[in-house]
Protein backbone atom coordinates (compact mmCIF):
# COMPACT_ATOMS: atom_id res chain seq x y z
CA UNK A 1 0.00 0.00 0.00
CA UNK A 2 2.81 2.35 0.93
CA UNK A 3 4.57 1.47 -2.32
CA UNK A 4 1.45 2.37 -4.32
CA UNK A 5 1.33 5.78 -2.66
CA UNK A 6 5.02 6.43 -3.32
CA UNK A 7 4.57 5.32 -6.93
CA UNK A 8 1.55 7.58 -7.46
CA UNK A 9 3.37 10.55 -5.98
CA UNK A 10 6.39 9.99 -8.25
CA UNK A 11 4.13 9.59 -11.27
CA UNK A 12 2.35 12.83 -10.39
CA UNK A 13 5.74 14.56 -10.15
CA UNK A 14 6.62 13.43 -13.69
CA UNK A 15 3.24 14.59 -15.00
CA UNK A 16 3.71 18.02 -13.39
CA UNK A 17 7.21 18.39 -14.90
CA UNK A 18 5.86 17.44 -18.33
CA UNK A 19 3.05 19.99 -18.01
CA UNK A 20 5.59 22.63 -16.96
CA UNK A 21 7.61 21.85 -20.10
CA UNK A 22 4.54 22.19 -22.33
CA UNK A 23 3.55 25.43 -20.59
CA UNK A 24 7.01 26.96 -21.08
CA UNK A 25 6.93 26.05 -24.78
CA UNK A 26 3.55 27.70 -25.25
CA UNK A 27 4.47 30.73 -23.16
CA UNK A 28 7.75 31.49 -24.93
CA UNK A 29 6.61 30.18 -28.35
CA UNK A 30 9.58 27.79 -28.54
CA UNK A 31 10.06 25.61 -31.65
CA UNK A 32 10.93 22.68 -29.38
CA UNK A 33 8.34 20.21 -28.04
CA UNK A 34 7.30 20.23 -24.39
CA UNK A 35 8.65 16.77 -23.62
CA UNK A 36 12.20 17.73 -24.62
CA UNK A 37 11.99 20.78 -22.32
CA UNK A 38 10.57 18.42 -19.67
CA UNK A 39 13.68 16.22 -19.93
CA UNK A 40 15.87 19.31 -19.48
CA UNK A 41 13.86 20.47 -16.43
CA UNK A 42 14.12 17.07 -14.72
CA UNK A 43 17.87 16.89 -15.52
CA UNK A 44 18.40 20.29 -13.91
CA UNK A 45 16.34 19.27 -10.86
CA UNK A 46 18.41 16.07 -10.50
CA UNK A 47 21.67 17.92 -11.03
CA UNK A 48 20.88 20.56 -8.41
CA UNK A 49 19.64 17.78 -6.09
CA UNK A 50 16.24 19.40 -5.70
CA UNK A 51 14.99 15.91 -6.60
CA UNK A 52 17.08 12.88 -5.69
CA UNK A 53 17.14 9.90 -8.06
CA UNK A 54 15.55 7.64 -5.42
CA UNK A 55 12.60 10.04 -5.22
CA UNK A 56 11.64 9.43 -8.83
CA UNK A 57 13.24 6.11 -9.75
CA UNK A 58 10.27 3.80 -9.12
CA UNK A 59 7.83 5.52 -11.48
CA UNK A 60 10.51 6.47 -14.02
CA UNK A 61 11.79 2.90 -14.35
CA UNK A 62 8.27 1.53 -14.69
CA UNK A 63 7.30 4.05 -17.38
CA UNK A 64 10.51 3.44 -19.36
CA UNK A 65 10.09 -0.34 -19.13
CA UNK A 66 6.74 0.10 -20.89
CA UNK A 67 7.78 2.94 -23.21
CA UNK A 68 6.92 0.79 -26.27
CA UNK A 69 3.32 0.57 -25.11
CA UNK A 70 2.65 4.28 -25.62
CA UNK A 71 3.63 4.11 -29.28
CA UNK A 72 1.18 1.33 -30.11
CA UNK A 73 -2.04 3.42 -30.16
CA UNK A 74 -0.24 5.98 -32.36
CA UNK A 75 1.02 3.25 -34.70
CA UNK A 76 -2.54 1.90 -35.05
CA UNK A 77 -3.15 5.13 -36.98
CA UNK A 78 -1.27 3.51 -39.88
CA UNK A 79 -4.53 1.71 -40.68
CA UNK A 80 -5.92 4.93 -42.18
CA UNK A 81 -3.12 5.06 -44.75
CA UNK A 82 -4.07 1.85 -46.55
CA UNK A 83 -4.93 3.44 -49.93
CA UNK A 84 -1.68 5.41 -50.19
CA UNK A 85 0.40 2.39 -49.29
CA UNK A 86 -1.36 0.21 -51.86
CA UNK A 87 -0.26 2.74 -54.44
CA UNK A 88 3.40 3.39 -53.59
CA UNK A 89 3.83 1.26 -50.45
CA UNK A 90 6.62 -1.05 -51.61
CA UNK A 91 8.75 1.84 -52.91
CA UNK A 92 8.21 3.82 -49.68
CA UNK A 93 9.20 0.80 -47.60
CA UNK A 94 12.34 0.27 -49.70
CA UNK A 95 13.38 3.90 -49.17
CA UNK A 96 12.68 3.77 -45.42
CA UNK A 97 14.41 0.42 -44.86
CA UNK A 98 17.58 1.12 -46.87
CA UNK A 99 18.05 4.63 -45.46
CA UNK A 100 17.45 3.40 -41.89
CA UNK A 101 20.02 0.62 -42.37
CA UNK A 102 22.59 3.03 -43.80
CA UNK A 103 22.02 5.45 -40.91
CA UNK A 104 22.18 2.72 -38.24
CA UNK A 105 25.43 1.24 -39.57
CA UNK A 106 27.23 4.54 -40.18
CA UNK A 107 26.21 6.04 -36.81
CA UNK A 108 27.20 2.86 -34.97
CA UNK A 109 30.47 2.32 -36.83
CA UNK A 110 31.54 5.98 -36.52
CA UNK A 111 30.81 6.08 -32.78
CA UNK A 112 32.47 2.75 -32.10
CA UNK A 113 35.65 3.54 -34.06
CA UNK A 114 36.14 6.83 -32.20
CA UNK A 115 35.58 5.11 -28.84
CA UNK A 116 38.06 2.38 -29.79
CA UNK A 117 40.68 4.93 -30.86
CA UNK A 118 40.27 6.77 -27.60
CA UNK A 119 40.59 3.58 -25.58
CA UNK A 120 43.62 2.45 -27.59
CA UNK A 121 45.35 5.75 -26.87
CA UNK A 122 44.65 5.18 -23.20
CA UNK A 123 46.10 1.65 -23.36
CA UNK A 124 49.22 2.87 -25.19
CA UNK A 125 49.64 5.57 -22.62
CA UNK A 126 49.52 2.90 -19.95
CA UNK A 127 52.15 0.86 -21.77
CA UNK A 128 54.51 3.81 -21.88
CA UNK A 129 54.06 4.63 -18.24
CA UNK A 130 54.84 1.00 -17.34
Amino acid sequence: MKKVLIFSFQLATLIVIYQMGSLLVRFFHLQVPGNVIGILILLILLWTRVIKVEQIDLAATWLLKHLSFFFIPIAVGLMTLGPMFLNKGILILIVLIISAFIGLISAGKATQSIIMKKEKVKVNYHDHSV
Partner: protein, 225 residues
Protein backbone atom coordinates in the same frame (compact mmCIF):
# COMPACT_ATOMS: atom_id res chain seq x y z
CA UNK B 1 -18.45 1.20 -24.93
CA UNK B 2 -16.18 0.98 -27.99
CA UNK B 3 -13.62 3.06 -26.08
CA UNK B 4 -13.60 0.70 -23.10
CA UNK B 5 -13.30 -2.25 -25.48
CA UNK B 6 -10.44 -0.54 -27.38
CA UNK B 7 -8.54 0.24 -24.18
CA UNK B 8 -8.96 -3.30 -22.88
CA UNK B 9 -7.97 -4.73 -26.27
CA UNK B 10 -4.82 -2.59 -26.55
CA UNK B 11 -3.56 -3.46 -23.07
CA UNK B 12 -4.30 -7.19 -23.45
CA UNK B 13 -2.61 -7.40 -26.86
CA UNK B 14 0.43 -5.51 -25.49
CA UNK B 15 0.82 -7.89 -22.53
CA UNK B 16 0.46 -10.87 -24.84
CA UNK B 17 3.00 -9.47 -27.37
CA UNK B 18 5.54 -8.80 -24.63
CA UNK B 19 5.28 -12.35 -23.29
CA UNK B 20 5.33 -13.78 -26.80
CA UNK B 21 8.34 -11.65 -27.81
CA UNK B 22 10.29 -12.74 -24.74
CA UNK B 23 9.74 -16.38 -25.63
CA UNK B 24 10.19 -16.19 -29.40
CA UNK B 25 12.73 -13.52 -30.28
CA UNK B 26 12.47 -12.35 -33.89
CA UNK B 27 12.07 -9.02 -35.72
CA UNK B 28 8.40 -9.90 -36.18
CA UNK B 29 7.82 -10.22 -32.42
CA UNK B 30 9.12 -6.72 -31.64
CA UNK B 31 6.31 -5.47 -29.32
CA UNK B 32 5.27 -2.31 -31.20
CA UNK B 33 5.09 -4.10 -34.56
CA UNK B 34 3.33 -7.25 -33.34
CA UNK B 35 0.82 -5.39 -31.13
CA UNK B 36 -0.02 -2.85 -33.84
CA UNK B 37 -0.57 -5.59 -36.42
CA UNK B 38 -2.85 -7.64 -34.12
CA UNK B 39 -4.84 -4.57 -33.00
CA UNK B 40 -5.41 -3.36 -36.57
CA UNK B 41 -6.59 -6.84 -37.62
CA UNK B 42 -8.94 -7.06 -34.61
CA UNK B 43 -10.30 -3.52 -35.12
CA UNK B 44 -10.97 -4.15 -38.81
CA UNK B 45 -12.51 -7.53 -37.90
CA UNK B 46 -14.89 -5.94 -35.40
CA UNK B 47 -15.69 -3.03 -37.80
CA UNK B 48 -14.21 -0.29 -35.60
CA UNK B 49 -12.72 2.65 -37.52
CA UNK B 50 -9.63 4.56 -36.40
CA UNK B 51 -11.91 7.50 -35.73
CA UNK B 52 -13.83 5.41 -33.17
CA UNK B 53 -10.53 4.16 -31.69
CA UNK B 54 -9.22 7.74 -31.19
CA UNK B 55 -10.69 8.42 -27.71
CA UNK B 56 -8.96 5.25 -26.46
CA UNK B 57 -5.73 6.44 -28.07
CA UNK B 58 -5.99 9.78 -26.27
CA UNK B 59 -6.48 8.00 -22.94
CA UNK B 60 -3.70 5.45 -23.48
CA UNK B 61 -1.05 7.91 -24.67
CA UNK B 62 -1.66 10.35 -21.81
CA UNK B 63 1.49 9.09 -20.11
CA UNK B 64 3.75 9.29 -23.20
CA UNK B 65 4.84 12.82 -22.26
CA UNK B 66 5.71 11.99 -18.64
CA UNK B 67 7.40 8.75 -19.82
CA UNK B 68 9.59 10.78 -22.19
CA UNK B 69 10.45 13.12 -19.32
CA UNK B 70 11.49 10.04 -17.30
CA UNK B 71 14.34 9.56 -19.81
CA UNK B 72 16.19 12.19 -17.78
CA UNK B 73 16.73 9.54 -15.07
CA UNK B 74 18.91 7.09 -17.08
CA UNK B 75 20.66 10.06 -18.72
CA UNK B 76 21.49 11.46 -15.28
CA UNK B 77 22.57 8.05 -13.91
CA UNK B 78 24.97 7.59 -16.85
CA UNK B 79 26.18 11.19 -16.97
CA UNK B 80 29.87 10.34 -16.48
CA UNK B 81 29.75 7.82 -19.33
CA UNK B 82 28.01 10.31 -21.61
CA UNK B 83 30.54 13.03 -20.80
CA UNK B 84 33.41 10.59 -21.39
CA UNK B 85 32.28 9.70 -24.93
CA UNK B 86 30.78 13.07 -25.82
CA UNK B 87 32.98 13.62 -28.90
CA UNK B 88 32.26 10.14 -30.27
CA UNK B 89 28.56 10.66 -29.62
CA UNK B 90 28.42 13.99 -31.48
CA UNK B 91 30.28 12.65 -34.53
CA UNK B 92 28.18 9.46 -34.66
CA UNK B 93 24.98 11.44 -34.30
CA UNK B 94 25.85 13.85 -37.10
CA UNK B 95 27.07 11.14 -39.48
CA UNK B 96 24.03 8.94 -38.80
CA UNK B 97 21.57 11.80 -39.28
CA UNK B 98 23.18 13.09 -42.47
CA UNK B 99 23.61 9.68 -44.14
CA UNK B 100 20.06 8.53 -43.37
CA UNK B 101 18.46 11.74 -44.72
CA UNK B 102 20.64 11.95 -47.84
CA UNK B 103 20.32 8.27 -48.74
CA UNK B 104 16.54 8.46 -48.32
CA UNK B 105 16.30 11.52 -50.58
CA UNK B 106 18.62 10.08 -53.24
CA UNK B 107 16.72 6.78 -53.49
CA UNK B 108 13.37 8.59 -53.39
CA UNK B 109 14.43 10.87 -56.24
CA UNK B 110 15.41 7.79 -58.28
CA UNK B 111 11.82 6.59 -57.74
CA UNK B 112 10.48 10.01 -58.84
CA UNK B 113 8.68 10.66 -55.53
CA UNK B 114 6.56 13.82 -55.36
CA UNK B 115 7.49 16.66 -53.00
CA UNK B 116 4.68 15.54 -50.68
CA UNK B 117 6.55 12.26 -50.14
CA UNK B 118 10.04 13.82 -50.06
CA UNK B 119 9.31 16.29 -47.24
CA UNK B 120 8.55 13.69 -44.52
CA UNK B 121 11.78 11.83 -45.37
CA UNK B 122 13.84 14.71 -43.99
CA UNK B 123 12.39 14.26 -40.49
CA UNK B 124 11.63 10.53 -40.43
CA UNK B 125 14.22 9.91 -37.67
CA UNK B 126 12.80 12.50 -35.27
CA UNK B 127 10.61 11.43 -32.36
CA UNK B 128 6.85 11.66 -33.12
CA UNK B 129 5.89 14.75 -31.07
CA UNK B 130 8.86 16.74 -32.45
CA UNK B 131 8.39 15.54 -36.03
CA UNK B 132 4.77 16.62 -36.15
CA UNK B 133 5.72 20.10 -34.86
CA UNK B 134 8.55 20.50 -37.38
CA UNK B 135 6.17 19.12 -40.00
CA UNK B 136 3.86 22.09 -39.49
CA UNK B 137 6.79 24.48 -39.95
CA UNK B 138 7.95 22.89 -43.22
CA UNK B 139 4.31 22.52 -44.37
CA UNK B 140 4.35 18.74 -44.67
CA UNK B 141 1.41 16.32 -44.43
CA UNK B 142 1.22 15.53 -40.70
CA UNK B 143 -0.32 12.05 -40.92
CA UNK B 144 2.20 11.07 -43.60
CA UNK B 145 5.02 12.34 -41.39
CA UNK B 146 3.72 10.37 -38.40
CA UNK B 147 3.53 7.24 -40.58
CA UNK B 148 7.10 7.59 -41.89
CA UNK B 149 8.42 8.26 -38.40
CA UNK B 150 6.62 5.29 -36.86
CA UNK B 151 7.63 2.89 -39.64
CA UNK B 152 11.25 4.06 -39.34
CA UNK B 153 11.11 3.49 -35.58
CA UNK B 154 9.71 -0.01 -36.10
CA UNK B 155 12.39 -0.84 -38.70
CA UNK B 156 15.08 0.28 -36.25
CA UNK B 157 13.59 -1.66 -33.35
CA UNK B 158 12.99 -4.80 -35.41
CA UNK B 159 16.26 -5.02 -37.34
CA UNK B 160 18.66 -2.58 -35.58
CA UNK B 161 20.08 -4.96 -32.96
CA UNK B 162 20.58 -7.78 -35.49
CA UNK B 163 22.07 -5.46 -38.10
CA UNK B 164 24.57 -4.16 -35.54
CA UNK B 165 25.50 -7.73 -34.56
CA UNK B 166 26.14 -8.43 -38.23
CA UNK B 167 28.41 -5.40 -38.58
CA UNK B 168 30.16 -6.11 -35.28
CA UNK B 169 28.96 -2.93 -33.60
CA UNK B 170 29.11 -4.40 -30.10
CA UNK B 171 30.01 -1.47 -27.85
CA UNK B 172 26.88 -0.74 -25.77
CA UNK B 173 27.41 3.00 -26.12
CA UNK B 174 27.65 2.84 -29.93
CA UNK B 175 24.62 0.53 -30.14
CA UNK B 176 22.47 2.83 -28.03
CA UNK B 177 23.58 5.94 -29.88
CA UNK B 178 22.91 4.44 -33.29
CA UNK B 179 19.41 3.15 -32.53
CA UNK B 180 18.38 6.31 -30.66
CA UNK B 181 19.60 8.57 -33.48
CA UNK B 182 17.83 6.66 -36.26
CA UNK B 183 14.84 5.01 -34.58
CA UNK B 184 13.98 7.66 -31.90
CA UNK B 185 11.51 6.59 -29.15
CA UNK B 186 10.51 3.21 -30.56
CA UNK B 187 14.20 2.34 -30.99
CA UNK B 188 14.93 3.66 -27.50
CA UNK B 189 12.24 1.39 -26.06
CA UNK B 190 14.02 -1.53 -27.73
CA UNK B 191 17.44 -0.32 -26.49
CA UNK B 192 16.09 -0.20 -22.91
CA UNK B 193 15.21 -3.88 -23.27
CA UNK B 194 18.81 -4.58 -24.31
CA UNK B 195 20.48 -2.82 -21.38
CA UNK B 196 20.56 0.26 -19.18
CA UNK B 197 23.54 1.92 -20.90
CA UNK B 198 22.02 1.35 -24.35
CA UNK B 199 18.71 2.79 -23.15
CA UNK B 200 20.25 5.87 -21.56
CA UNK B 201 22.44 6.65 -24.57
CA UNK B 202 19.56 6.04 -26.99
CA UNK B 203 17.32 8.39 -25.01
CA UNK B 204 19.97 11.10 -24.98
CA UNK B 205 20.70 10.63 -28.69
CA UNK B 206 16.99 10.82 -29.51
CA UNK B 207 16.67 14.11 -27.65
CA UNK B 208 19.78 15.66 -29.20
CA UNK B 209 18.88 14.48 -32.72
CA UNK B 210 15.41 15.97 -32.27
CA UNK B 211 16.84 19.32 -31.15
CA UNK B 212 19.42 19.38 -33.94
CA UNK B 213 17.03 18.49 -36.75
CA UNK B 214 14.22 20.76 -35.56
CA UNK B 215 16.60 23.75 -35.55
CA UNK B 216 18.36 23.00 -38.84
CA UNK B 217 15.92 21.27 -41.23
CA UNK B 218 13.49 24.17 -41.83
CA UNK B 219 16.43 26.24 -43.14
CA UNK B 220 18.08 23.64 -45.39
CA UNK B 221 14.93 22.17 -46.95
CA UNK B 222 15.14 24.54 -49.98
CA UNK B 223 18.69 23.28 -50.65
CA UNK B 224 17.81 19.60 -50.21
CA UNK B 225 14.68 19.32 -52.32
Amino acid sequence: MITVYSIFLTITVYIFSRKFGQRYSSPLTSPVFLSTLIIIVLLVGSHISYHEYSPAKKFLTYLLGPATVALAVPIYKNRTLLAQYLAAACVGLLIGTITTILSALIIAKCFFFSKMLLLPLTIKSVTVPVATEVGKIIKGNVSLIAAFVIITGMIGAMFGPRLMNLFKIDHPFARGLSIGTIAHGIGTAEAIREGEIQGAVAGAAMGIAALLISFVIPYIIPILL
